[in-house]
Protein backbone atom coordinates (compact mmCIF):
# COMPACT_ATOMS: atom_id res chain seq x y z
CA UNK A 1 0.00 0.00 0.00
CA UNK A 2 1.36 3.38 -0.96
CA UNK A 3 0.36 6.54 0.82
CA UNK A 4 -0.72 9.56 -1.18
CA UNK A 5 1.02 12.90 -0.77
CA UNK A 6 -2.02 14.14 1.09
CA UNK A 7 -2.02 11.30 3.62
CA UNK A 8 1.70 11.76 4.28
CA UNK A 9 1.26 15.50 4.74
CA UNK A 10 -1.68 15.06 7.09
CA UNK A 11 0.18 12.49 9.19
CA UNK A 12 3.26 14.72 9.35
CA UNK A 13 1.22 17.79 10.30
CA UNK A 14 -0.70 15.95 13.02
CA UNK A 15 2.48 14.38 14.39
CA UNK A 16 4.29 17.70 14.26
CA UNK A 17 1.47 19.41 16.16
CA UNK A 18 1.55 16.66 18.80
CA UNK A 19 5.27 17.31 19.34
CA UNK A 20 5.09 21.09 19.69
CA UNK A 21 5.09 21.35 23.53
CA UNK A 22 8.09 19.06 24.14
CA UNK A 23 10.08 20.68 21.34
CA UNK A 24 9.13 24.17 22.53
CA UNK A 25 10.27 23.41 26.08
CA UNK A 26 13.42 21.73 24.74
CA UNK A 27 14.47 24.83 22.80
CA UNK A 28 13.10 26.92 25.68
CA UNK A 29 10.64 28.83 23.51
CA UNK A 30 7.36 28.50 25.43
CA UNK A 31 5.92 31.09 23.08
CA UNK A 32 5.46 28.45 20.42
CA UNK A 33 3.21 26.37 22.64
CA UNK A 34 1.00 29.43 23.03
CA UNK A 35 1.03 30.22 19.30
CA UNK A 36 0.25 26.66 18.27
CA UNK A 37 -2.42 26.25 20.93
CA UNK A 38 -4.10 29.29 19.44
CA UNK A 39 -3.71 27.67 16.03
CA UNK A 40 -5.41 24.47 17.21
CA UNK A 41 -8.28 26.39 18.76
CA UNK A 42 -8.83 28.53 15.67
CA UNK A 43 -8.70 25.42 13.52
CA UNK A 44 -11.62 23.99 15.53
CA UNK A 45 -13.64 27.07 14.58
CA UNK A 46 -12.47 26.75 10.98
CA UNK A 47 -13.43 23.07 10.84
CA UNK A 48 -16.84 24.05 12.19
CA UNK A 49 -17.30 26.80 9.63
CA UNK A 50 -16.11 24.53 6.83
CA UNK A 51 -18.86 22.08 7.74
CA UNK A 52 -21.55 24.56 6.73
CA UNK A 53 -19.56 26.73 4.31
CA UNK A 54 -17.62 24.10 2.41
CA UNK A 55 -20.04 21.21 2.55
CA UNK A 56 -23.33 23.00 3.05
CA UNK A 57 -22.71 26.11 0.93
CA UNK A 58 -23.86 28.43 3.72
CA UNK A 59 -21.64 31.51 3.77
CA UNK A 60 -22.01 32.49 7.41
CA UNK A 61 -20.46 35.93 7.87
CA UNK A 62 -21.20 36.02 11.58
CA UNK A 63 -19.51 32.92 12.84
CA UNK A 64 -17.18 34.74 15.21
CA UNK A 65 -20.31 35.42 17.28
CA UNK A 66 -20.22 31.79 18.41
CA UNK A 67 -16.60 32.19 19.47
CA UNK A 68 -17.92 35.04 21.58
CA UNK A 69 -20.78 32.98 23.01
CA UNK A 70 -18.41 30.24 24.15
CA UNK A 71 -15.85 32.71 25.40
CA UNK A 72 -18.35 34.74 27.36
CA UNK A 73 -19.90 31.67 28.97
CA UNK A 74 -16.45 30.70 30.26
CA UNK A 75 -15.71 34.29 31.25
CA UNK A 76 -19.00 34.92 33.01
CA UNK A 77 -18.95 31.62 34.93
CA UNK A 78 -15.41 32.17 36.11
CA UNK A 79 -16.25 35.77 36.99
CA UNK A 80 -19.11 34.67 39.30
CA UNK A 81 -17.06 31.84 40.72
CA UNK A 82 -14.35 34.30 41.60
CA UNK A 83 -16.42 37.30 42.67
CA UNK A 84 -19.45 35.68 44.33
CA UNK A 85 -17.87 32.42 45.40
CA UNK A 86 -20.42 30.38 43.45
CA UNK A 87 -18.60 27.07 43.75
CA UNK A 88 -20.57 25.23 41.07
CA UNK A 89 -19.74 27.89 38.48
CA UNK A 90 -16.05 27.12 38.80
CA UNK A 91 -16.63 23.56 37.68
CA UNK A 92 -15.32 22.98 34.16
CA UNK A 93 -17.96 20.36 33.34
CA UNK A 94 -20.73 22.80 34.17
CA UNK A 95 -19.01 25.53 32.15
CA UNK A 96 -18.60 23.28 29.13
CA UNK A 97 -22.19 22.07 29.34
CA UNK A 98 -23.39 25.65 29.56
CA UNK A 99 -21.24 26.57 26.57
CA UNK A 100 -22.75 23.79 24.50
CA UNK A 101 -26.33 24.59 25.51
CA UNK A 102 -25.88 28.33 25.00
CA UNK A 103 -24.24 28.07 21.59
CA UNK A 104 -26.76 25.45 20.45
CA UNK A 105 -29.68 27.67 21.42
CA UNK A 106 -28.14 30.75 19.79
CA UNK A 107 -27.35 28.77 16.63
CA UNK A 108 -30.85 27.32 16.55
CA UNK A 109 -32.41 30.77 16.82
CA UNK A 110 -30.10 32.45 14.28
CA UNK A 111 -30.14 29.49 11.90
CA UNK A 112 -33.91 29.14 11.95
CA UNK A 113 -34.29 32.71 10.72
CA UNK A 114 -31.25 32.98 8.42
CA UNK A 115 -31.81 29.73 6.56
CA UNK A 116 -35.06 31.09 5.20
CA UNK A 117 -32.95 33.34 3.00
CA UNK A 118 -30.52 32.58 0.20
CA UNK A 119 -27.30 33.84 -1.33
CA UNK A 120 -26.33 37.42 -0.58
CA UNK A 121 -29.22 37.79 1.81
CA UNK A 122 -27.90 34.90 3.87
CA UNK A 123 -24.44 36.49 4.02
CA UNK A 124 -25.93 39.79 5.11
CA UNK A 125 -28.35 38.47 7.72
CA UNK A 126 -25.71 36.32 9.40
CA UNK A 127 -23.53 39.42 9.43
CA UNK A 128 -26.36 41.33 11.06
CA UNK A 129 -26.86 38.70 13.75
CA UNK A 130 -23.13 38.64 14.39
CA UNK A 131 -23.20 42.41 14.89
CA UNK A 132 -26.21 42.09 17.17
CA UNK A 133 -24.37 39.71 19.48
CA UNK A 134 -21.30 41.95 19.25
CA UNK A 135 -23.37 44.84 20.60
CA UNK A 136 -24.91 42.62 23.27
CA UNK A 137 -21.36 41.94 24.46
CA UNK A 138 -20.51 45.64 24.31
CA UNK A 139 -23.60 46.32 26.40
CA UNK A 140 -22.73 43.80 29.12
CA UNK A 141 -21.37 46.43 31.45
CA UNK A 142 -21.03 44.25 34.54
CA UNK A 143 -18.78 42.03 32.44
CA UNK A 144 -16.57 44.85 31.28
CA UNK A 145 -18.58 46.10 28.27
CA UNK A 146 -16.23 47.36 25.59
CA UNK A 147 -13.10 46.63 27.62
CA UNK A 148 -13.80 42.94 28.05
CA UNK A 149 -13.34 40.68 31.00
CA UNK A 150 -10.18 39.11 32.40
CA UNK A 151 -10.30 35.50 33.56
CA UNK A 152 -8.60 35.25 36.94
CA UNK A 153 -8.35 31.49 36.70
CA UNK A 154 -8.98 28.91 34.02
CA UNK A 155 -11.50 26.10 33.83
CA UNK A 156 -10.76 23.06 35.98
CA UNK A 157 -12.16 19.65 35.23
CA UNK A 158 -11.84 17.85 38.61
CA UNK A 159 -10.48 14.35 38.25
CA UNK A 160 -9.53 14.87 34.63
CA UNK A 161 -7.41 17.93 33.92
CA UNK A 162 -6.83 21.56 34.72
CA UNK A 163 -6.50 24.08 31.90
CA UNK A 164 -4.31 26.31 34.06
CA UNK A 165 -1.42 24.21 32.88
CA UNK A 166 -0.21 25.40 29.48
CA UNK A 167 0.71 21.97 28.18
CA UNK A 168 -2.58 20.46 29.35
CA UNK A 169 -4.48 23.19 27.57
CA UNK A 170 -2.46 22.45 24.46
CA UNK A 171 -3.27 18.76 24.43
CA UNK A 172 -6.92 19.33 25.31
CA UNK A 173 -7.15 21.66 22.30
CA UNK A 174 -5.35 19.09 20.21
CA UNK A 175 -7.73 16.34 21.25
CA UNK A 176 -10.76 18.55 20.66
CA UNK A 177 -9.47 19.41 17.21
CA UNK A 178 -9.03 15.71 16.38
CA UNK A 179 -12.51 14.98 17.70
CA UNK A 180 -13.98 17.72 15.52
CA UNK A 181 -12.14 16.35 12.48
CA UNK A 182 -13.56 12.93 13.25
CA UNK A 183 -17.07 14.28 13.70
CA UNK A 184 -16.85 16.18 10.39
CA UNK A 185 -15.52 13.14 8.61
CA UNK A 186 -18.30 10.91 9.94
CA UNK A 187 -20.94 13.54 9.24
CA UNK A 188 -20.04 14.37 5.67
CA UNK A 189 -19.84 10.74 4.66
CA UNK A 190 -23.14 9.84 6.27
CA UNK A 191 -26.60 10.06 4.76
CA UNK A 192 -26.97 13.36 6.58
CA UNK A 193 -23.83 14.69 4.90
CA UNK A 194 -25.01 13.53 1.49
CA UNK A 195 -28.23 15.52 1.89
CA UNK A 196 -26.25 18.55 3.06
CA UNK A 197 -23.88 18.39 0.10
CA UNK A 198 -26.74 17.74 -2.26
CA UNK A 199 -28.52 20.83 -0.97
CA UNK A 200 -25.42 22.90 -1.70
CA UNK A 201 -25.20 21.69 -5.28
CA UNK A 202 -28.88 21.83 -6.10
CA UNK A 203 -31.34 22.55 -3.35
CA UNK A 204 -34.40 22.45 -5.58
CA UNK A 205 -33.53 19.04 -6.92
CA UNK A 206 -32.97 17.68 -3.41
CA UNK A 207 -36.40 18.91 -2.43
CA UNK A 208 -37.90 17.43 -5.56
CA UNK A 209 -36.59 13.99 -4.74
CA UNK A 210 -38.16 14.20 -1.33
CA UNK A 211 -35.66 15.64 1.12
CA UNK A 212 -36.85 18.56 3.22
CA UNK A 213 -33.44 20.29 3.14
CA UNK A 214 -34.27 23.00 5.69
CA UNK A 215 -34.05 20.81 8.84
CA UNK A 216 -30.85 19.19 7.56
CA UNK A 217 -29.23 22.55 6.97
CA UNK A 218 -30.45 23.81 10.33
CA UNK A 219 -29.00 20.83 12.18
CA UNK A 220 -25.68 21.34 10.39
CA UNK A 221 -25.76 25.02 11.35
CA UNK A 222 -26.36 24.12 15.01
CA UNK A 223 -23.56 21.54 15.05
CA UNK A 224 -21.23 24.08 13.54
CA UNK A 225 -22.32 26.71 16.07
CA UNK A 226 -21.69 24.35 18.98
CA UNK A 227 -18.21 23.41 17.71
CA UNK A 228 -17.34 27.08 17.31
CA UNK A 229 -18.72 27.75 20.79
CA UNK A 230 -16.38 25.13 22.23
CA UNK A 231 -13.52 26.77 20.34
CA UNK A 232 -14.51 30.06 21.95
CA UNK A 233 -14.55 28.41 25.37
CA UNK A 234 -10.99 27.16 24.81
CA UNK A 235 -9.88 30.48 23.35
CA UNK A 236 -11.07 32.35 26.44
CA UNK A 237 -9.12 29.92 28.60
CA UNK A 238 -6.05 30.27 26.43
CA UNK A 239 -5.96 34.07 26.36
CA UNK A 240 -7.36 34.51 29.91
CA UNK A 241 -9.50 37.24 28.43
CA UNK A 242 -12.78 37.77 26.62
CA UNK A 243 -13.89 40.96 24.91
CA UNK A 244 -16.35 42.00 22.21
CA UNK A 245 -13.45 42.25 19.76
CA UNK A 246 -13.30 38.45 19.51
CA UNK A 247 -16.72 38.57 17.84
CA UNK A 248 -16.05 41.56 15.60
CA UNK A 249 -17.22 41.00 12.04
CA UNK A 250 -13.66 41.10 10.72
CA UNK A 251 -12.99 37.98 12.84
CA UNK A 252 -15.79 36.26 10.94
CA UNK A 253 -14.07 37.40 7.77
CA UNK A 254 -10.78 35.93 9.02
CA UNK A 255 -12.50 32.59 9.59
CA UNK A 256 -13.87 32.57 6.04
CA UNK A 257 -10.42 33.46 4.69
CA UNK A 258 -8.88 30.61 6.67
CA UNK A 259 -11.36 28.10 5.28
CA UNK A 260 -10.91 29.26 1.69
CA UNK A 261 -7.14 29.52 2.03
CA UNK A 262 -6.97 25.93 3.25
CA UNK A 263 -9.42 24.59 0.72
CA UNK A 264 -13.12 24.67 1.45
CA UNK A 265 -15.12 21.51 1.31
CA UNK A 266 -12.08 19.40 2.17
CA UNK A 267 -11.60 17.57 5.43
CA UNK A 268 -8.15 18.86 6.37
CA UNK A 269 -8.25 22.16 4.49
CA UNK A 270 -9.35 24.21 7.54
CA UNK A 271 -6.43 22.85 9.55
CA UNK A 272 -3.92 23.73 6.82
CA UNK A 273 -5.56 27.11 6.36
CA UNK A 274 -5.36 27.98 10.05
CA UNK A 275 -1.71 27.01 10.29
CA UNK A 276 -0.83 29.01 7.18
CA UNK A 277 -2.89 32.04 8.19
CA UNK A 278 -1.64 32.28 11.76
CA UNK A 279 1.96 31.69 10.69
CA UNK A 280 1.66 34.47 8.11
CA UNK A 281 0.06 36.71 10.71
CA UNK A 282 2.95 35.93 13.03
CA UNK A 283 5.79 36.26 10.53
CA UNK A 284 4.73 39.03 8.15
CA UNK A 285 4.62 41.82 10.78
CA UNK A 286 8.24 41.07 11.66
CA UNK A 287 9.24 41.59 8.01
CA UNK A 288 7.33 44.78 7.39
CA UNK A 289 5.10 46.82 9.63
CA UNK A 290 2.61 47.45 6.85
CA UNK A 291 2.13 43.77 6.07
CA UNK A 292 -1.56 44.18 5.34
CA UNK A 293 -0.61 46.18 2.26
CA UNK A 294 0.68 42.93 0.79
CA UNK A 295 -1.65 40.57 2.58
CA UNK A 296 -4.78 42.16 1.07
CA UNK A 297 -3.75 41.84 -2.59
CA UNK A 298 -2.35 38.37 -1.85
CA UNK A 299 -5.80 37.38 -0.66
CA UNK A 300 -7.29 38.62 -3.92
CA UNK A 301 -4.75 36.59 -5.88
CA UNK A 302 -5.52 33.44 -3.87
CA UNK A 303 -9.20 33.91 -4.59
CA UNK A 304 -8.58 34.54 -8.28
CA UNK A 305 -5.99 31.92 -9.07
CA UNK A 306 -5.79 29.28 -6.34
CA UNK A 307 -9.36 28.10 -6.16
CA UNK A 308 -8.80 24.89 -4.22
CA UNK A 309 -6.61 26.45 -1.55
CA UNK A 310 -3.67 24.72 0.08
CA UNK A 311 -5.38 21.34 -0.05
CA UNK A 312 -5.35 21.37 -3.85
CA UNK A 313 -1.54 21.64 -3.82
CA UNK A 314 -1.50 18.10 -2.46
CA UNK A 315 -2.84 16.60 -5.64
CA UNK A 316 -6.36 16.01 -6.93
CA UNK A 317 -9.02 15.06 -4.46
CA UNK A 318 -10.06 11.45 -4.37
CA UNK A 319 -13.71 12.25 -4.84
CA UNK A 320 -14.47 15.68 -6.22
CA UNK A 321 -18.12 16.57 -5.78
CA UNK A 322 -18.40 19.59 -8.02
Amino acid sequence: MTLSVRSVTVILVLLGLALVPPIASWVDQGYYTVLFARMLIMSIAAIALNLILGFGGMVSFGHAAFLGVGGYVAGIFIFHYFEDGAEWMGNGYVQLAATIVASALVALFIGAICLRTRGVYFIMITLAFGQMLFFVAVGLEIYGGDDGLSLYTRSEFPGLFDLNDRTTLYYVSYGTMLACLLVSWRLINSRFGMVLRGARLNDRRMKAIGFPTYPYRLVAFVISGVMTGIAGFLLANQTDFVSPSMMHWTKSGDLIIIVVLGGMGTLFGPLFGTIAYLLLEDILPSITESWQLFFGPMLILVVLFARGGIDSLLGPRSRPDD
Partner: protein, 307 residues
Protein backbone atom coordinates in the same frame (compact mmCIF):
# COMPACT_ATOMS: atom_id res chain seq x y z
CA UNK B 1 -39.63 63.58 26.95
CA UNK B 2 -38.60 66.89 25.57
CA UNK B 3 -40.37 67.49 22.26
CA UNK B 4 -37.82 70.01 21.06
CA UNK B 5 -35.05 67.53 21.66
CA UNK B 6 -37.00 64.89 19.80
CA UNK B 7 -37.40 67.24 16.87
CA UNK B 8 -33.66 67.85 16.78
CA UNK B 9 -33.03 64.11 16.92
CA UNK B 10 -35.41 63.57 14.01
CA UNK B 11 -33.41 66.08 11.96
CA UNK B 12 -30.19 64.28 12.93
CA UNK B 13 -31.82 61.01 11.93
CA UNK B 14 -32.76 62.37 8.51
CA UNK B 15 -29.22 63.63 8.05
CA UNK B 16 -27.73 60.23 8.95
CA UNK B 17 -30.32 58.58 6.71
CA UNK B 18 -29.31 60.74 3.75
CA UNK B 19 -25.62 59.96 4.30
CA UNK B 20 -26.50 56.28 4.36
CA UNK B 21 -28.53 56.76 1.21
CA UNK B 22 -25.51 58.16 -0.65
CA UNK B 23 -23.60 55.00 0.18
CA UNK B 24 -26.53 52.68 -0.30
CA UNK B 25 -27.54 54.06 -3.70
CA UNK B 26 -24.21 53.14 -5.24
CA UNK B 27 -23.92 49.85 -3.42
CA UNK B 28 -27.41 48.69 -4.28
CA UNK B 29 -26.81 49.45 -7.97
CA UNK B 30 -23.49 47.61 -7.93
CA UNK B 31 -25.23 44.72 -6.22
CA UNK B 32 -28.28 44.81 -8.43
CA UNK B 33 -26.60 45.32 -11.79
CA UNK B 34 -23.25 43.58 -11.51
CA UNK B 35 -24.35 41.07 -8.85
CA UNK B 36 -21.19 42.05 -6.96
CA UNK B 37 -20.86 42.00 -3.17
CA UNK B 38 -18.56 44.94 -2.62
CA UNK B 39 -17.22 45.13 0.92
CA UNK B 40 -14.73 47.75 -0.24
CA UNK B 41 -17.50 50.33 -0.70
CA UNK B 42 -16.71 51.60 2.78
CA UNK B 43 -13.09 52.08 1.74
CA UNK B 44 -14.19 54.43 -1.03
CA UNK B 45 -16.14 56.38 1.59
CA UNK B 46 -12.98 56.57 3.67
CA UNK B 47 -10.85 57.59 0.69
CA UNK B 48 -13.34 60.35 -0.11
CA UNK B 49 -12.91 61.74 3.38
CA UNK B 50 -9.10 61.59 3.19
CA UNK B 51 -9.04 63.16 -0.29
CA UNK B 52 -11.23 65.98 0.97
CA UNK B 53 -8.92 66.46 3.95
CA UNK B 54 -5.83 66.74 1.76
CA UNK B 55 -7.33 68.86 -0.99
CA UNK B 56 -8.95 71.18 1.54
CA UNK B 57 -5.59 71.52 3.25
CA UNK B 58 -3.76 72.35 0.01
CA UNK B 59 -6.33 74.79 -1.34
CA UNK B 60 -7.27 76.25 2.03
CA UNK B 61 -10.90 75.91 1.10
CA UNK B 62 -13.37 73.28 2.22
CA UNK B 63 -15.61 73.75 -0.80
CA UNK B 64 -12.84 73.52 -3.40
CA UNK B 65 -11.41 70.55 -1.49
CA UNK B 66 -14.71 68.70 -1.78
CA UNK B 67 -15.09 69.68 -5.43
CA UNK B 68 -11.63 68.25 -6.17
CA UNK B 69 -12.08 65.16 -4.01
CA UNK B 70 -15.27 64.19 -5.80
CA UNK B 71 -13.69 63.50 -9.21
CA UNK B 72 -10.68 61.98 -7.43
CA UNK B 73 -12.89 59.36 -5.78
CA UNK B 74 -14.70 58.77 -9.05
CA UNK B 75 -11.37 58.14 -10.74
CA UNK B 76 -10.22 55.87 -7.92
CA UNK B 77 -13.46 53.91 -8.22
CA UNK B 78 -12.91 53.42 -11.94
CA UNK B 79 -9.31 52.28 -11.36
CA UNK B 80 -10.43 49.79 -8.70
CA UNK B 81 -13.14 48.48 -10.99
CA UNK B 82 -10.84 48.04 -13.97
CA UNK B 83 -7.90 46.60 -12.05
CA UNK B 84 -9.46 44.38 -9.42
CA UNK B 85 -13.20 43.93 -9.60
CA UNK B 86 -13.84 43.38 -13.30
CA UNK B 87 -12.60 39.80 -13.06
CA UNK B 88 -14.92 39.08 -10.15
CA UNK B 89 -18.29 39.59 -11.83
CA UNK B 90 -18.76 36.00 -12.89
CA UNK B 91 -17.37 34.60 -9.64
CA UNK B 92 -19.57 33.46 -6.79
CA UNK B 93 -20.41 35.72 -3.88
CA UNK B 94 -17.93 34.07 -1.55
CA UNK B 95 -15.02 34.92 -3.85
CA UNK B 96 -16.26 38.48 -4.11
CA UNK B 97 -16.57 38.82 -0.34
CA UNK B 98 -13.00 37.59 0.12
CA UNK B 99 -11.42 39.65 -2.63
CA UNK B 100 -13.10 42.87 -1.54
CA UNK B 101 -12.20 42.06 2.07
CA UNK B 102 -8.62 41.98 0.81
CA UNK B 103 -9.18 45.42 -0.74
CA UNK B 104 -10.29 46.75 2.65
CA UNK B 105 -7.05 45.56 4.27
CA UNK B 106 -5.09 47.12 1.41
CA UNK B 107 -6.79 50.50 1.60
CA UNK B 108 -6.63 50.68 5.39
CA UNK B 109 -2.91 50.01 5.32
CA UNK B 110 -2.36 52.42 2.43
CA UNK B 111 -4.10 55.17 4.37
CA UNK B 112 -2.06 54.36 7.45
CA UNK B 113 1.14 54.75 5.41
CA UNK B 114 0.17 57.96 3.61
CA UNK B 115 -1.79 59.83 6.28
CA UNK B 116 -0.62 58.09 9.43
CA UNK B 117 -2.60 56.11 11.98
CA UNK B 118 -3.96 59.06 13.98
CA UNK B 119 -7.43 60.44 13.34
CA UNK B 120 -7.59 63.77 11.49
CA UNK B 121 -10.00 66.66 11.80
CA UNK B 122 -11.39 68.44 8.78
CA UNK B 123 -12.30 71.94 9.97
CA UNK B 124 -15.43 73.59 8.65
CA UNK B 125 -15.32 76.95 6.87
CA UNK B 126 -16.74 79.82 8.91
CA UNK B 127 -19.88 80.27 6.84
CA UNK B 128 -20.96 76.68 7.60
CA UNK B 129 -19.70 76.62 11.17
CA UNK B 130 -22.71 78.50 12.55
CA UNK B 131 -26.14 77.54 13.64
CA UNK B 132 -29.57 78.57 12.44
CA UNK B 133 -32.65 78.91 14.57
CA UNK B 134 -34.95 76.51 12.77
CA UNK B 135 -37.75 76.87 15.32
CA UNK B 136 -37.91 79.50 18.01
CA UNK B 137 -35.43 78.44 20.66
CA UNK B 138 -33.85 75.59 18.74
CA UNK B 139 -30.54 76.36 17.13
CA UNK B 140 -29.38 73.75 14.64
CA UNK B 141 -25.92 73.55 13.04
CA UNK B 142 -25.89 75.05 9.55
CA UNK B 143 -23.58 72.35 8.32
CA UNK B 144 -25.98 69.57 9.19
CA UNK B 145 -28.74 71.41 7.35
CA UNK B 146 -26.39 71.72 4.38
CA UNK B 147 -25.79 67.96 4.50
CA UNK B 148 -29.54 67.37 4.44
CA UNK B 149 -29.90 69.75 1.49
CA UNK B 150 -27.08 68.13 -0.49
CA UNK B 151 -28.45 64.68 0.29
CA UNK B 152 -31.89 65.60 -0.98
CA UNK B 153 -30.43 67.23 -4.09
CA UNK B 154 -28.40 64.12 -4.87
CA UNK B 155 -31.48 61.95 -4.34
CA UNK B 156 -33.38 64.16 -6.78
CA UNK B 157 -30.49 64.03 -9.26
CA UNK B 158 -30.37 60.24 -9.01
CA UNK B 159 -34.10 60.01 -9.50
CA UNK B 160 -33.91 62.14 -12.64
CA UNK B 161 -30.86 60.25 -13.87
CA UNK B 162 -32.43 56.86 -13.39
CA UNK B 163 -35.98 57.66 -14.40
CA UNK B 164 -35.48 60.19 -17.18
CA UNK B 165 -32.22 59.57 -19.05
CA UNK B 166 -31.02 56.98 -21.49
CA UNK B 167 -28.27 55.80 -19.16
CA UNK B 168 -30.83 55.52 -16.39
CA UNK B 169 -32.93 53.35 -18.62
CA UNK B 170 -29.95 51.05 -19.15
CA UNK B 171 -29.30 50.97 -15.40
CA UNK B 172 -32.89 49.99 -14.70
CA UNK B 173 -32.79 47.39 -17.42
CA UNK B 174 -29.53 46.06 -16.01
CA UNK B 175 -31.03 45.73 -12.56
CA UNK B 176 -33.91 43.64 -13.89
CA UNK B 177 -32.07 41.44 -16.35
CA UNK B 178 -28.38 41.80 -17.06
CA UNK B 179 -28.07 39.08 -19.66
CA UNK B 180 -30.87 40.49 -21.73
CA UNK B 181 -29.33 43.98 -21.75
CA UNK B 182 -26.03 42.51 -22.91
CA UNK B 183 -27.76 40.41 -25.54
CA UNK B 184 -29.47 43.51 -26.93
CA UNK B 185 -26.11 44.95 -27.84
CA UNK B 186 -25.43 47.34 -24.97
CA UNK B 187 -21.74 47.71 -24.04
CA UNK B 188 -22.28 46.15 -20.64
CA UNK B 189 -18.65 46.54 -19.58
CA UNK B 190 -18.79 50.28 -20.07
CA UNK B 191 -22.10 50.41 -18.24
CA UNK B 192 -20.56 48.52 -15.32
CA UNK B 193 -17.61 50.91 -15.14
CA UNK B 194 -19.89 53.94 -15.24
CA UNK B 195 -22.14 52.57 -12.53
CA UNK B 196 -19.20 51.66 -10.34
CA UNK B 197 -17.59 55.08 -10.81
CA UNK B 198 -20.89 56.75 -9.96
CA UNK B 199 -21.25 54.58 -6.86
CA UNK B 200 -17.70 55.39 -5.81
CA UNK B 201 -18.27 59.12 -6.23
CA UNK B 202 -21.46 58.93 -4.14
CA UNK B 203 -19.67 56.96 -1.42
CA UNK B 204 -16.82 59.47 -1.52
CA UNK B 205 -19.29 62.35 -1.25
CA UNK B 206 -20.81 60.73 1.83
CA UNK B 207 -17.32 60.42 3.31
CA UNK B 208 -16.51 64.04 2.61
CA UNK B 209 -19.72 65.25 4.16
CA UNK B 210 -19.31 63.05 7.21
CA UNK B 211 -15.67 64.10 7.65
CA UNK B 212 -16.27 67.39 9.51
CA UNK B 213 -18.85 65.77 11.81
CA UNK B 214 -16.84 62.64 12.60
CA UNK B 215 -13.10 62.09 12.65
CA UNK B 216 -11.29 61.12 9.47
CA UNK B 217 -9.70 57.84 10.47
CA UNK B 218 -8.76 54.36 9.37
CA UNK B 219 -11.70 52.02 9.77
CA UNK B 220 -14.37 54.71 9.43
CA UNK B 221 -15.58 52.92 6.31
CA UNK B 222 -16.24 49.58 7.94
CA UNK B 223 -18.48 51.00 10.61
CA UNK B 224 -20.84 52.65 8.17
CA UNK B 225 -20.53 49.81 5.65
CA UNK B 226 -22.47 47.40 7.85
CA UNK B 227 -25.28 49.93 8.30
CA UNK B 228 -25.30 50.43 4.54
CA UNK B 229 -25.71 46.70 4.03
CA UNK B 230 -28.62 46.74 6.43
CA UNK B 231 -30.16 49.54 4.37
CA UNK B 232 -29.86 47.84 1.00
CA UNK B 233 -31.02 44.50 2.34
CA UNK B 234 -34.08 46.07 3.94
CA UNK B 235 -34.75 48.17 0.86
CA UNK B 236 -34.39 45.28 -1.54
CA UNK B 237 -31.15 44.82 -3.45
CA UNK B 238 -31.07 46.78 -6.69
CA UNK B 239 -33.80 49.23 -5.79
CA UNK B 240 -32.84 52.91 -5.40
CA UNK B 241 -36.30 53.79 -4.16
CA UNK B 242 -36.02 51.02 -1.56
CA UNK B 243 -32.57 52.25 -0.57
CA UNK B 244 -33.87 55.79 -0.09
CA UNK B 245 -36.77 54.78 2.14
CA UNK B 246 -34.77 52.18 4.06
CA UNK B 247 -31.93 54.66 4.61
CA UNK B 248 -34.31 57.19 6.13
CA UNK B 249 -35.96 54.49 8.26
CA UNK B 250 -32.59 53.24 9.54
CA UNK B 251 -31.25 56.76 10.11
CA UNK B 252 -34.34 57.73 12.10
CA UNK B 253 -34.58 54.51 14.08
CA UNK B 254 -30.91 54.57 14.96
CA UNK B 255 -30.78 58.21 16.01
CA UNK B 256 -34.19 58.59 17.59
CA UNK B 257 -34.01 55.11 19.12
CA UNK B 258 -30.79 55.98 20.88
CA UNK B 259 -32.33 59.07 22.43
CA UNK B 260 -35.77 57.81 23.45
CA UNK B 261 -35.06 54.16 24.21
CA UNK B 262 -33.52 54.81 27.63
CA UNK B 263 -36.65 56.76 28.66
CA UNK B 264 -38.94 54.09 27.26
CA UNK B 265 -37.11 51.33 29.09
CA UNK B 266 -37.21 53.35 32.30
CA UNK B 267 -40.97 53.22 32.14
CA UNK B 268 -41.05 49.46 31.72
CA UNK B 269 -38.09 48.14 33.68
CA UNK B 270 -36.47 48.90 37.00
CA UNK B 271 -33.88 51.67 36.80
CA UNK B 272 -30.81 49.45 37.07
CA UNK B 273 -31.93 46.97 34.42
CA UNK B 274 -32.96 49.77 32.10
CA UNK B 275 -29.65 51.55 32.26
CA UNK B 276 -27.71 48.39 31.41
CA UNK B 277 -30.06 47.26 28.65
CA UNK B 278 -30.52 50.60 26.91
CA UNK B 279 -27.12 51.09 25.23
CA UNK B 280 -26.95 47.52 23.94
CA UNK B 281 -30.56 47.53 22.77
CA UNK B 282 -30.24 50.80 20.91
CA UNK B 283 -27.15 49.62 19.03
CA UNK B 284 -29.01 46.44 18.15
CA UNK B 285 -32.20 48.12 16.95
CA UNK B 286 -31.22 48.35 13.28
CA UNK B 287 -30.09 44.73 13.17
CA UNK B 288 -33.27 43.57 14.87
CA UNK B 289 -35.23 45.46 12.25
CA UNK B 290 -33.23 43.82 9.47
CA UNK B 291 -33.74 40.35 10.93
CA UNK B 292 -37.48 41.03 11.20
CA UNK B 293 -37.77 42.30 7.64
CA UNK B 294 -35.81 39.37 6.23
CA UNK B 295 -37.77 36.86 8.28
CA UNK B 296 -41.03 38.22 6.91
CA UNK B 297 -39.99 39.38 3.42
CA UNK B 298 -36.77 37.56 2.47
CA UNK B 299 -36.20 39.79 -0.59
CA UNK B 300 -36.52 43.11 1.21
CA UNK B 301 -39.30 45.68 1.27
CA UNK B 302 -39.03 46.86 -2.33
CA UNK B 303 -37.51 44.15 -4.51
CA UNK B 304 -36.89 45.57 -8.01
CA UNK B 305 -39.38 44.41 -10.59
CA UNK B 306 -38.40 41.41 -12.62
CA UNK B 307 -35.58 40.40 -10.31
Amino acid sequence: MNWLLLFEQILNGIQLGLLLFLLAAGLTLIFGIMDLVNLAHGSLYMMGAYFAYSFAGWTDSFVIGVLLALPATLLLGIVVEVVALRTLYDRNHLDQVLATFGLILFFNELVRIIWGPAGLDLPLPDFLNTSVEILPGIPYPTYRLAVIAVGLLVALFLYLLVARTRIGMLIRAGASNREMVGALGVDIKLLYTIVFGLGAALAGLAGMMAAPILTVEVGMGERILIDTFVVIVIGGIGSIRGAFLAALIIGLIDTVGRSILPDLLNLMLPQAAASTAAPALSSMLTYVLMALVLAIRPAGLFPPRGA
